[in-house]
């Protein structure tokens, strides 16, 4: 910085400027470029708010939902096919209307969003874990292992993710007896979506690992005698996580859509745990008889959820991209 004139007359005549006080972590964050770009983009703030609302509503559905759509005792077929409250024939207690069984739509949407988000998050975490591990190993170990793993990745990439997810789901469905499959169907979907999407993580991490591998701190760690896995996890991993998080955020939207698509096609989550996709599928049957709300409202919720997640992911990617600064 300016002012560091050592051993000159000037130094004696001019006092050094005061050192800036070190900032606490909160202050540092608020001063950072990240927060700046966030707080100055109204769109991002809005999408963050929307996303948080949806996630909050979904997480706390058991507490917040006005009705419990799974409690058969409270259902009354007389309430079936109520339109939304602001239309003629609607009732206040069923704000968004009811479906063919008399279930309150708002509540089913909240519970449905819960499933959608749960599957989405879990599959992203699964894909991230799988992809990061493969990328670390491929980059670090190198040689044939690397070549083989990357070939597998290439083969996997020839197929669109949705196809892989469908295939895996179909295979498991064919392989297991029916009741077993229904019980673990949720996890099968998570597995299918996760496994269809790991390559991006693997490639990015592999690239970063290759770069880090040649840096001095890794050589130093080897000299001290740390095991390879130790070096990989404690030293290299923290340095490659940045771009991984961006990919994860962007993939969350895709994962939620993938689950919705699978459920809509009837090969996703089991009917006992309906997600937004399932709800849309059920509602589709009533489209032509005029009860449009059964399908449209879950649809809007799904769209808002994915839209806000995508916007946040876009912002994060742009904010962390050094080239755009």
């Amino acid at each position: 910085m300016a002012g560091e004139a050592r051993g000159t007359e000037a130094a004696a005549a001019q006092p050094a400027p005061p050192m800036p006080r070190p900032m606490g972590p909160v202050a540092r964050f608020l001063d950072s470029d990240l927060w700046y770009s966030f707080s100055h983009s109204p769109l991002t703030i809005v999408s963050a708010v929307v996303a948080l609302t949806l996630i909050g509503g979904a997480l706390f559905a058991p507490v917040l939902a006005p009705h419990n759509p799974f409690d058969l005792a409270t259902l009354n077929l007389m309430d079936a096919f109520n339109p939304p409250a602001w239309l003629e024939g609607g009732e206040r207690q069923f704000l968004l209307g009811t479906d063919d069984q008399g279930r309150d739509l708002l509540s089913t949407i909240m519970y449905g969003a819960r499933i959608s988000l749960f599957v989405g998050f879990c599959s992203v975490i699964f894909a991230m874990t799988l992809g990061v591990t493969i990328g670390l190993v491929a980059g670090f170990v190198g040689g044939t292992t690397d070549a083989v793993l990357m070939r597998i990745a290439d083969i996997k990439l020839t197929f669109p993710a949705i196809l892989v997810a469908l295939l895996v789901d179909g295979l498991v469905r064919a392989a297991l007896p029916r009741e077993l499959h229904d019980r673990i169907a949720l996890w099968v979907v998570i597995f299918a979506i996760g496994i269809s999407n790991w390559v991006q993580y693997a490639r990015t991490v592999r690239g970063s690992t290759l770069v880090e591998k040649n840096k001095e701190y890794v050589m130093a760690a080897r000299v001290i005698g740390l095991s390879s896995s130790r070096i990989m996890t404690s030293h290299v991993l923290p340095n490659v996580m940045g771009p991984v998080l961006v990919i994860a955020t962007l993939n969350l939207g895709f994962a939620i859509l993938a689950e919705a698509t699978l459920s809509f096609l009837g090969v996703g989550v089991p009917p006992t745990q309906p997600s937004l996709g399932t709800l849309i599928r059920i509602g589709n049957d009533f489209l032509f008889s005029g009860e449009w709300w059964i399908t449209v409202f879950p649809g809007i919720t799904l769209a808002l959820m994915v839209l806000s997640v995508n916007l946040l992911g876009d912002w994060l990617r742009d904010a962390l991209n050094p080239k755009l600064r």
Binding site: I155, F159, I162, L163, L167, A174, G266, W292, A303
Partner: protein, 328 residues
């Protein structure tokens, strides 16, 4: 160039082999074809006879080889559920899917590329912001939802377009049933192809835009400006050409994704294509169809990749140069 093609084909071989292996493994290990084909009551003798007939008592390698031989001839056996030859079913449905996919791809390119170029060049105009908003929505809405909404508006409310089926088709070449040649066929094509193409259109638009922005920041564009070249020469000559090169690869891959997403669109619109066939097979554990579909898709993707590589080779002189040897 010949060597190039050959090397690419050789690279495709492991892909096809792996896929064949997976397909075959599905046959061999998933479910019990004997039980499915014989139904509820059968004797042990009948079972053994069928096993011998189907060759299920042979070693793995022999069975795999048989499978490959049959596959190359297009023979995948009978569908478990429909009891018809799988190859017949697929051939019947292929024209429907291909016509839908190509129309969707064409729409995606014809609208996506110009929009992408426009929003890349004129970043801050009102029209650009509008396009970008639409693209964001397109990327966030699942295909099936778009289909449903379109049906809601155009078929239910307005009643101008059909919501299912292909309309009337015309037989061409004795085998290909095309919907292009009838009015009802074309009308039936509109909603499904928009549904299928919208996602890809927005993807292409965003890709072209971001590539364009990258290119406009390069040194050679700066140098072109420093040489006083016209905006037209810079934007539509230098920048555009450099932008389109990576776009070619992605577009090729997108064609594959379109064919895959056709599954969803065909379900929503009850379009009688391969995708609908496949999803029904998945729901019913109909292995032969799943296996055949898988192999076909793999072959298709490999071919698409090959064409994309060829195009790349033709367009980017750096690839040609590396094969011809650079001069110093």
């Amino acid at each position: 160039m010949f060597a190039f093609i050959v090397s690419r084909l050789l690279q495709a071989l492991p892909v096809m082999l792996t896929v064949s292996l997976i397909s075959f493994a599905m046959f061999a290990y998933v479910g019990d074809p004997v039980a499915i084909m014989l139904g509820q009551d059968y004797t042990e003798a009948q079972r053994q006879a069928l096993i011998r007939d189907l060759g299920l008592d042979q070693p793995f390698i022999v069975q795999f080889w048989e499978f490959l031989k049959n596959a190359v001839q297009g023979n995948f056996g009978l569908s478990y559920r429909l009891a018809r030859p799988v190859s017949d079913l697929i051939l019947e449905r292929m024209p429907a899917t291909l016509e839908l996919s190509f129309t969707a791809a064409f729409l995606a390119l014809a609208i996506g590329v110009p929009m992408g170029v426009y929003t890349g060049l004129y970043r801050n105009s009102l029209l650009s912001r509008f396009f970008l908003t639409i693209s964001l929505i397109g990327v966030s809405l699942p295909t099936f939802l778009i289909g449903i909404l379109l049906i809601l508006v155009f078929a239910v409310d307005l009643g101008v377009l059909p919501s299912f089926g292909r309309g009337d088709t015309v037989m061409v070449g004795g085998w290909w049933a095309t919907g292009f040649l009838t009015v009802s066929g074309l009308k039936a094509l509109i909603l499904p192809s928009i549904t299928l193409g919208l996602f890809q259109m927005t993807l292409i638009m965003r890709l072209v835009r971001s590539e364009m922005l990258e290119v406009l920041r390069t040194d050679y564009i700066k140098f072109a400006r420093a040489r006083g070249l016209s905006n037209r020469a810079i934007h539509f000559g230098h920048a555009l050409k450099n932008t389109l090169v990576p776009v070619i690869t992605i577009t090729g891959l997108q064609l594959g994704a379109i064919i895959a997403f056709a599954i969803v669109t065909e379900t929503v619109f009850q379009w009688p294509g391969m995708g609908l066939l496949f999803i029904q097979a998945v729901a019913n554990a109909d292995i032969p169809i799943m296996a055949a579909y898988l192999m076909m898709i793999a072959l298709l993707f490999v071919l698409i990749n090959l064409v994309v590589d060829l195009l790349y080779y033709l367009v980017d002189p750096r690839l040609r140069g590396s094969l011809a040897g650079s001069a110093r």
